[in-house]
């Protein structure tokens, strides 16, 4: 067994950390005791279930099983990002399509160029990283698009009044939403290794892989995350613009007024 992986006894002992957290929460009267306990209990149950499912998936479900898993993640991500951008009409559908596009392009390229293996043991965790990056990008993009549709209405209507079509009138606002969606991940790339060791690399180091080998994986993961965020946020932005205007090129009221 890999010495870096804690035993079940060790996991049990780590509950002490939960106890420490709860003790501090109680002492500071944060009113979060119940939430912390429920979250920790949920996390254990969720992880045990996921671990068991992944075991079955890796051993016997093959490529179709792995793809089904990725699709399920896309649907869940679409739900999360869609709620975030609720101010945009049809946000749920837009988010799901955007995340699916970001995931398909990124994973597809990696597999087609044989950068990664198409084995479930690779596709599922890598797919998870891609879907969560695409979800993050889509969430921010849609949230900002919805905000811009309210706060930028005067500017948008000033451009419409000059005879610009809706998509062109909204373009500066869409760009600002996309910048917001990308900036966190660009910053993460800029500071990688300096502020924190990224997850994939940490995992490989813990598993005993040589550091210079581990960074190869990390480099791919970073480009992959950037691409997934950019494609997903870009698709979400374009689709959202189309839904924000009617056929007479009018910005729809999205704030309930």
């Amino acid at each position: 067994m890999n010495p870096a992986v804690p035993s079940w006894w060790g996991v049990g002992a780590s509950v002490l950390l939960v106890a420490l957290t709860v003790a501090l929460v109680v002492r500071e009267q944060l009113g979060l005791t119940r939430e912390v306990l429920v979250a920790c209990a949920r996390a254990i149950v969720q992880l045990v279930v996921v671990g068991a499912l992944l075991g079955v998936l890796f051993d016997s479900a093959g490529l179709p099983g792995a793809l089904a898993w990725v699709v399920a993640m896309v649907v869940v991500g679409g739900g999360v990002a869609g709620r975030r951008g609720a101010g945009v009409p049809g946000a749920q559908g837009i988010a799901t399509i955007a995340i699916a596009a970001g995931t398909a392009v990124t994973l597809g390229l990696l597999v087609a160029a044989q950068v990664i293996d198409d084995h479930p043991r690779v596709l599922v965790p890598v797919g998870g990283m891609v879907v969560s990056a695409a979800t993050r990008g889509t969430s921010v993009a849609l949230l900002r698009m919805a905000e811009e549709a309210v706060t930028g209405r005067r500017q948008v209507e000033a451009r419409l009044a000059l005879g610009l079509p809706g998509a062109a009138a909204f373009a500066p606002h869409r760009r600002s939403a996309l910048r917001a969606a990308l900036v966190t991940d660009v910053d993460a790339v800029r500071t990688v290794g300096l502020i924190s060791l990224p997850g994939a690399m940490t995992g490989l180091l813990l598993a005993g892989v040589d550091p210079l080998t581990a960074i190869r994986y990390q480099v791919v993961v970073m480009w992959m995350i950037l691409a997934a965020v950019t494609v997903a946020a870009g698709v979400a932005g374009r689709l959202a613009v189309a839904r924000l205007f009617d056929s007479a090129q009018r910005l729809l009221a999205t704030d309930g007024s």
């Binding site: 005067r154 209507e157 000033a158 451009r159 419409l160 000059l162 005879g163 007479a248 090129q249 009018r250």
Partner: protein, 220 residues
């Protein structure tokens, strides 16, 4: 040139305009006056098709607005909003929003029509409120509209800046441009307008020459 025929607008259960009929003839400045909440700005938005009537028709050259390509229509019917909305970082870039091919010479000419003496590379962030509003006027003129819709164009400005904008509007109308001026400032309406349409709670209560308007006389 622009006209409303039995136009009703209901928004959120409230009747904002109630069977309004009015004409805005070519080559004249028509003021839309009335107390706040009378439906003046709603009427203006109808004329640029930024809003659709619940019932009734809006006509441009005797044809209903939906029969025009909406982008073409909005180029022919210009709109200047209440508070100045500057869109780009420099004066020239702002003038080019609706007409990207605008040459520096044409831009200078537009600025002078709008009574604005600023450099083309001047940062729009440094403009005063009155200068910004005249830039918005010049930007609206850049696409070559036949009629200008002015939504309380001086209400966000101080008295001096308001006067400067008023002089420009009055010169443009004297040059033959048609204008529809929404204003709650009755004196301004009297100074600028040839005709007036007075609204109260969504209904037309008076139309006719501004000089003979009983409503506008209340201003003196």
């Amino acid at each position: 040139m622009l006209a409303l025929e039995d136009v009703t607008v209901v928004r959120g259960g409230t009747t904002v305009l109630d069977t309004v009929s009015a004409a805005f003839p070519a080559g004249r400045c028509t003021a839309v006056a009335g107390p706040s909440g009378a439906g003046k700005s709603t009427l203006l938005r109808l004329l640029d098709r930024l809003l659709e009537p619940t019932s009734g028709r809006v006509l441009f050259h005797d044809r209903p607005l939906p029969s025009y390509d909406v982008l073409d229509l909005r180029r022919r019917v210009g709109l200047v909003q209440q508070a100045p909305v500057v869109l780009e970082a420099t004066v020239l870039a702002d003038l080019r929003v609706g007409r990207p091919e605008l040459s520096p010479d044409e831009a200078t000419e537009l600025l002078s029509r709008a009574g604005l003496d600023v450099a083309l590379d001047r940062s729009t962030a440094d403009l005063s409120g009155g200068e910004a509003q005249r830039l918005c006027l010049a930007r609206a003129l850049a696409v070559g509209p036949e009629v200008l819709l002015l939504d309380e164009p001086t209400s966000a400005l101080d008295a001096v800046a308001a006067q400067a904008v008023e002089r420009v509007v009055s010169a443009l109308v004297a040059d033959g441009l048609s204008a529809v001026l929404v204003s709650h400032d009755l004196r301004q309406a009297r100074r600028l307008a040839d005709d007036v349409v007075v609204l109260d709670r969504g209904r037309v209560i008076e139309t006719g020459p501004a000089a003979e308007s009983r409503y506008l006389k209340g201003a003196s």
